[in-house]
């Protein structure tokens, strides 16, 4: 297609030389905004104004579904942490903010679990690569919340219990369930089983399947 070259316009006129017309035009713009916003604000119809800011703590903008926020660790059906300390996330983390010390789980079924799982939210660059790298649907950043400010640096290091406290039971079908998992994945409920406690606003269900759109 055509890519043209266009010489930009340099508007100029006698009126411009006289300062006032353009100044009046500019004042008109700001006055229009002022009137619209002022009366909209006074009459309490902020929706109709152009005002772009919000009163933050009382009024919060909803983060979009894909927002990368505070980490959380997902849980198994029995409430244990889903993470098996495979170290994919510390490996892929460009900020080296995840510390995991694995241990042998007494439960022979899982074998391995994190003894220590810490995320330094001050170091975290919120790139989301850890979520992408997790092969167990254990770590997620979909809390739709952000890291809270702290008085001390140490307080920004979230430990396993804190990360798990935000977690919910993941319903993702995962290795070991074995047979015919493709059918299970296809028919997987996108909402949690009834009676399950889900924190308000927290999304649930499996990580959106990244199928790249390939049929």
């Amino acid at each position: 297609m055509a890519v043209g070259v266009k010489v930009v316009n340099r508007p100029g006129s006698l009126g411009q030389q006289a300062y006032l017309p353009a100044i009046a035009e500019g004042l008109g713009v700001t006055f229009r905004h002022f009137v619209k916003n002022f009366f909209g604000n006074v009459t309490g119809q902020r929706k109709k104004t152009d005002i772009a800011t919000i009163e933050y703590p009382e009024e919060k903008k909803a983060y979009p579904e894909r927002n990368r926020g505070l980490h959380r660790l997902m849980l198994r059906d029995d409430g244990q942490v889903r993470c098996v300390a495979c170290m994919m996330c510390p490996t892929v983390c460009p900020a080296h903010c995840i510390t995991i010390v694995p241990e042998e789980a007494p439960d022979g079924r899982i074998e391995k679990r994190p003894m220590i799982f810490e995320i330094d939210e001050l170091r975290c660059v919120v790139c989301g690569l850890c979520v992408e790298a997790c092969p167990c649907d254990a770590i997620r950043m979909d809390t739709l919340d952000h890291a809270k400010p702290t008085y001390r640096r140490g307080d920004a290091i979230l430990d396993k219990e804190e990360l798990m406290s935000r977690g919910v039971r993941s319903t993702a079908v995962q290795g070991g369930v074995g047979a015919f998992w493709r059918e299970q994945v296809a028919g997987q409920p996108q909402t949690p089983a009834s009676g399950e406690v889900v924190p308000a606003g927290a999304p649930h269900g499996p990580t959106p399947l990244r199928d790249h759109g390939h049929k």
Partner: protein, 382 residues
Amino acid sequence: MEYGSLGFQALAATIKIVFMILGFLMPLASILTWMERRESAMMQDRLGPNRANIGPFKLWGITHFMADAVKFLFKEDFIPPKAHKFLFMWAPIMAMAPALIVAAIIPFGAPLCWGEMTEKVGLGGACANPVNLQIAQLDVGLLFYFAISSLAVYGATLAGWASHNKWAMMGGLRATSQMMSYEVTMGMAVLGSFLVYGSLEPGAIADQQTNIINFGHFHSSWGIFLQPLGFILFLTAAIAETKRTPFDIPEGEPEIIGYFVEYSGLRFGMFFLGEFLEIVVSSAIMITIFFGGWHMGATVDGFLAHVPNIWIFPKSLLFSLLTLIVWSIKVFVFCGFQLMIRWSLPRFRSDQLMRLGWQRLLPISICNVVATALVVLAVQAW
């Protein structure tokens, strides 16, 4: 106390000074600091500061100026080690005081008819014993304004020099040249009005503008219609004198930060407040010369003059209060207008500012004076 005695005059002047400074200038300037932020916010599609409150009383954050004051009070008062201590401390006072002083000549309401308060209203000052709502009725009038307000330049200059900082120094120099230059235009701009009204005294000038616009008695119209060019010139020069955008060259935040770069705490607060005081005062002067002072045209004035005596308030007092309110609203609107200009325009460059002042505004204002003089001469001759 007998009307006209020294004691009476002293008491009246004291009451008027206290009212003017504590009851009007300071509160309005303080509120302007909030209003500037709120108004600019509304212009800029923001909410602006609306959170300062006293307990549950939020009032759109109007008490923000108090929060500001508290902040200024408790901030560290830093004086650079190599600064000239005395001048460094003196400069903010020099910046703020002139604005308060020149307020003395501004008429802010209809005169009280002393002795006949229940019978007459001071419309046009037609009383036996009028008490003018004007602190000082000086014959030099507006010359006093020019004389005192030109002192404000010392504040900026001294601040810039005493701070021992290259940027502050530049700001001080810029302020000096700018304020000196624009005073000339400012004086020239109102010269036409002096010719038209034949007086330098603000009260007298205001009292002549009894009509908003009257084509029959055109000379009794508001000054804006008699001296439109003069008004624009005066407005421009007045904004330049207050050192606000588009004339904020001495500050120029992204360029040189300005003469008060080293100031903090209450001293900075004085510069800050001084700037708003200047806005209020220059608005009041403009109202007086070009917008009829406390007059709101013959119709409104006449309507207001029909106030009855209510309870213990005599009709003269009530009328003065009403005109005071009219005047206040005018000043307030003008302040708002100045804020709006400040938030709409970019800033000049120092040499462009100089060129505008000397090459454009000054010749135009001289032409205005000459033309006005010719017209006045022609009218008088005719």
